[in-house]
């Protein structure tokens, strides 16, 4: 019996203690009419050896691609200690640290994590994680609506430079509470927020928040100071969506704006934590981070760990501010989130400790440099050119002289994941794809890609 320790002797002893004749008797309260479904569709048990072989064969079938896709999930080197330690049973098989005294390891780690997120974002309070970057934006939108008490509106401005999937998720989650999302256009030349479009949208009525993604979905750097000041002047909170790796180089959201009327800093910061030591893994699990000002911490969803003292006056850690949460506040909680993404936070905390400020800066700089090298190499191919002229971080949109989809399929056949086709999300760009090169890409990788693409373009006539 896989994973069940009971011997026959155990079973009969236990039944006799209980006073039942059979295990079946323990289920006597279930009405007979509902019982007895077969599980014929579930295969028979297989040993670990057989399942291991099955999985190994399936993994081999998937193979490995040379990857140049980013678009919200980034291939970084993951230091070996990260998962060697995160998978230690004491982290891996513990649960939410409800019993603080028996969970100081997880609690101190989360406190350290919160501190690191605050350091990266320039904020004062971070939670212990949300599900992922996209759902974190949804929670941020709901939080903004709660927090911006002055505003009558439930309207949130979202420029089209924000990751389109994030917008979809925010809509799926927040629309049930009547939050409206107003989408604004981007500047075609720079690939950044079009301030004019923002002003026009504001003309349509008040709004409670503006979402700014930095670097934006196209990889371009937004004019965050101007955008923040504009939002604050118009009574809107600023929700910053940021890439944590980039924060080693770029101005943290806590310092955005404040140059004229508006107050300084974004109000809510969120983003995808995956770049911090979490593998791409076919799409998850990742984790979302969120931070804000201390003054708004009671509006923030998710768990929070605080440092306190024990009965002998020694420092220790515990879950705190729980009255924001569902298990206390039920229908009035800041969110329904309960289980979060603890193990990924464990990995990220180890990752950030290993890299430190200098290492993370080096990773960010290397990504930026590799992406420029990629853009240069691909732009040398006739028919390919960069779509925008803004400074960027580690992604770029390339315009093509023909549809991207067949090219990307052909590249995949050569073992290269060449980029993300933007035809569906941003048809106004014509034929275009989003590419990314992180620190993991060597010159020879970029050359392989360029060679393959040049080859494909020259052999297939342009359509």
């Amino acid at each position: 019996m896989p994973f069940i320790p009971h011997t026959e002797a155990d079973v009969s002893e236990m039944l006799s203690t209980i006073g039942a004749r059979s295990i079946d008797e323990l289920f006597e309260e279930i009405p007979a009419e509902f019982k007895g479904a077969s599980l014929a569709g579930v295969p028979a048990a297989r040993g670990e050896m057989e399942v291991a072989r099955l999985l190994t064969e399936r993994a081999a079938a998937d193979g490995r691609l040379l990857n140049f896709i980013g678009a919200g999930a980034y291939e970084h080197h993951i230091p070996a200690p990260v998962w060697a330690i995160a998978t230690r049973g004491e982290f891996y098989s513990a649960y939410t640290p409800y019993q603080a005294e028996a969970s100081q390891g997880t609690l101190q780690l989360i406190y350290e994590y919160q501190s690191m997120i605050c350091a990266l974002t320039g904020m004062e309070a971070a939670n212990a994680s949300l599900y992922d970057g996209a759902s974190a934006l949804a929670e941020a939108c709901l939080m903004a609506v709660r927090a911006n008490r002055g505003s009558e509106s439930r309207r949130i401005l979202v420029p089209r430079t924000v990751n389109p999937t994030y917008l979809k998720v925010a809509q799926s989650i927040a629309r049930n509470q009547g939050v409206e999302f107003e989408i604004t256009e981007f500047e075609r030349r720079s690939g950044r927020v079009d301030m004019g479009a923002l002003r026009r949208a504001r003309g349509g009525g008040p709004c409670t928040a503006l979402v700014i993604q930095q670097p934006n979905f196209f990889g371009n750097l937004e004019e965050v100071d101007a955008l923040t000041d504009w939002a604050h002047t118009h009574g809107a909170l600023v929700i910053a969506v940021v890439n944590p790796t980039s924060l080693a180089l770029y101005k943290p959201p806590g310092e955005w704006g404040g140059t004229n009327d508006g107050w300084r800093g974004a109000d809510i910061v969120c983003g995808e934590g995956q770049p911090l030591g979490v593998p791409l893994a076919c799409g998850g699990p990742y984790f979302g981070f969120m931070a804000t000002r201390l003054s708004r911490v009671r509006q923030m969803p998710g768990r929070i760990v605080g440092r306190t003292l024990d009965a002998q006056g020694r420092p220790g850690f515990t879950l705190t501010l729980q009255p924001r949460e569902q298990h206390i506040r039920r229908g009035k909680a800041t969110s329904n989130i309960c289980t979060n993404q603890g193990l990924l936070v464990t990995a990220a905390t180890i990752y950030l400790s290993l890299l430190g400020p200098a290492g993370l800066g080096r990773v960010a700089a290397a990504c930026a440099e590799r992406t420029e090298a990629l853009v240069r190499a691909l732009s040398r191919i006739p028919g390919i050119s960069p779509a925008f002229d803004s400074p960027r971080f580690h992604e770029a949109v390339l315009k093509l002289d023909r549809p991207a989809a067949p090219l990307l399929a052909a590249l995949a056949g050569r073992g290269i994941a060449g980029g993300l086709d933007l035809a569906a999300s941003h048809p106004e760009l014509g034929h275009a794809m989003l590419v990314c090169a992180t620190e993991t890409k060597l010159d020879e990788d970029i050359e392989s890609y360029a060679r393959a693409l040049r080859d494909l373009l020259s052999t297939c006539a342009s359509r």
């Binding site: 019996m1 896989p2 236990m14 295990i23 289920f27 309260e29 009405p31 479904a37 599980l39 014929a40 579930v42 295969p43 048990a45 297989r46 670990e48 399942v51 999985l55 998937d62 691609l65 080197h77 200690p81 004491e90 982290f91 098989s93 513990a94 640290p97 409800y98 019993q99 005294e101 997880t106 101190q108 501190s115 004062e124 309070a125 992922d132 998720v169 799926s172 989650i173 509470q177 009547g178 770029y250 101005k251 995808e272 791409l280 076919c282 799409g283 699990p285 201390l294 605080g306 306190t308 909680a333 289980t339 993404q341 936070v345 464990t346 905390t349 400790s353 290993l354 430190g356 990773v363």
Partner: protein, 485 residues
């Protein structure tokens, strides 16, 4: 020995150098000055050994399934087979970008997982998109709303939940823009059917139920409940947190439920990870099929694929940036293949055997069952209301004292309905000897209660810290380390 904060180990200029990528030839593409970061973030500067030692030592401060009996009710803290992690971490799986061409091997697993979950729950469709139980609940209630809306039945915005429901149930209803209506339970832990009858009506969107309930007992009149709610035009939501109790014994679909979420991190043994990740796969009956959250693993032209907006136009949409907690789902798949058909049934059987055995032994030892006339499901509740009066101790004191015996405490103060309660879930993977040790500890604690209750009140005594001051934590909020100026 107190383990310092990682920040306290930091020294300016210290580096784990082999983790640095090669220095790029050129600096970062010229960043406009006003977009540049002025001062480096205050991350720790430590060596690789310091990191390894620090987090190894921190880990040792935790209780966990791998090191301790962990009968935390409602959480199904069963053994997490190591194989699930080992094979989910194969480099071809971990290295795959979610937007790269669809990986057939991985998708085969996801597709088969959906099929197995359909079979187990008696549902018609399953989506693996939700990232935890609470998001599964969200998806479920959002589907219920979408269903009513699609029929132009816009009045249905009330969600009924029993008093004892888990906090995520009402919180989810609120997140979906619904109002919450609580109904009471009777003395045997069953739903008050009269109250239910009175509560339902044209505003009823649906009811959220856990069965066996959070009181650790099976809702025997579930057929009745289903009839009342369905006749009133509402739908039935099954909170699958307690699915472990009935796996292979009775299927939510057969009991009349229209939608269910499963906590794969409970029933299907994916790791709890110190608080997550989970996975909250949802299953639906025929009426909600069109509304399942995307992406779904599907088949197209003989290959596996992700079904998206165009394939499921009625979907309530996406709940995550990519594919939900894909790697968690993969771990659940591995576990389920090892359990197989017969193993599923045994999960429920031995979970129930362990719970009923523990219940009997504890009541024999003098503890009071909250529902003495009922069979335990996979978990049960002990109430310390009389002890608390007699000895001036609380359920919390007992919980803390248990830690000194090397046992993680059961869930305390949930459900709120039962005063001074301990919700105890041993799971099927614990041996009789482990249960007996737990009973021995509880007997000893009972003796201490009577002779030296202060020992309980000041517990724990052998943990890395003594009892922590929660009030201070909330009042003198210290939630992030700040560099000394």
């Amino acid at each position: 020995m107190r383990e310092p904060l990682i920040f306290e180990l930091s020294r300016p200029g210290r580096r784990a150098a082999s983790q640095f990528p090669p220095e790029p030839d050129s600096g970062p593409a010229n960043i406009p000055a006003h977009l540049r970061r002025a001062t480096a973030p205050a991350l720790p500067e430590v060596s690789e050994l310091q990191v390894v030692r620090h987090y190894t030592r921190l880990s040792q401060l935790n209780f966990s399934i791998d090191s301790h009996f962990y009968p935390l009710g409602s959480c199904t803290m069963k053994y997490n087979p190591k194989a699930c992690n080992t094979y989910a971490m194969l480099p071809e799986f971990t290295g795959r970008h979610p937007l790269a061409p669809e990986p057939q091997g991985f998708l085969a697993c996801m597709y088969e997982l959906q099929e197995m979950l359909k079979e187990i729950t008696g549902m018609q469709g399953v989506s693996l998109a939700p990232m935890a139980g609470a998001q599964g609940e969200f998806a479920g209630v959002a589907m219920i709303r979408a269903f009513h809306r699609a029929r132009n039945d816009h009045a249905r915005s009330e969600i009924i939940v029993p008093q004892a429901a888990h906090g995520t149930n009402p919180a989810t209803a609120a997140m979906c823009g619904c109002t919450v209506r609580e109904i009471p339970c009777d003395a045997s832990g069953s739903i008050d059917l009269e109250a239910l009858g009175a509560a339902v009506g044209p505003a009823t969107a649906g009811i959220m139920l856990t069965n066996p309930s959070t009181l650790g007992v099976f809702e025997r009149r579930i057929g009745e409940v289903a009839r009342i709610v369905h006749e009133a035009g509402g739908l039935l939501y099954y909170d699958g947190a307690n699915l472990n109790a009935i796996l292979g014994k009775v299927r939510p679909g057969d009991m009349g439920f229209d939608v269910i979420h499963m906590n794969l991190h409970k029933t299907f043994s994916t790791p709890h990870g110190g608080g997550g990740p989970g996975s909250g796969a949802v299953g639906v009956g025929p009426r909600l099929l069109p509304f399942l959250p995307i992406p779904l693993a599907g088949v197209r032209q003989g290959g596996f694929c992700w079904l998206a907006e165009a394939d499921v136009p009625g979907s309530i949409g996406r709940l995550s940036g990519f594919m939900g907690n894909a790697g968690v789902n993969l771990r659940a798949y591995i576990y389920m293949r090892m359990l197989g058909r017969q193993g599923m049934v045994r999960v429920a059987e031995f979970a129930a055997l362990n719970a009923n055995y523990l219940l009997k032994r504890l009541t024999d030892a003098g503890y009071e069952a909250a529902y003495p006339t009922r069979r335990a499901s996979h978990e049960f509740i002990i109430t310390l209301r009389s002890e608390s009066r007699r000895y001036e101790i609380t359920a919390m004191d007992v919980a803390k004292r248990l830690l000194d015996f090397g046992v993680h405490a059961p869930t305390t103060y949930f459900p709120l309905l039962v005063p001074e309660c301990l919700l105890i879930e041993p799971t099927e993977t614990e041996s009789k000897e482990e249960l007996d040790r737990f009973c021995d500890a509880m007997r000893e604690i009972r003796r201490e209660m009577q002779r030296d209750p202060e020992k309980l009140r000041s517990a724990p005594h052998t943990m890395p810290v003594r009892r922590l001051d929660d009030v201070r934590a909330a009042k003198q909020l210290d939630i992030a380390w700040k560099p000394a100026c």
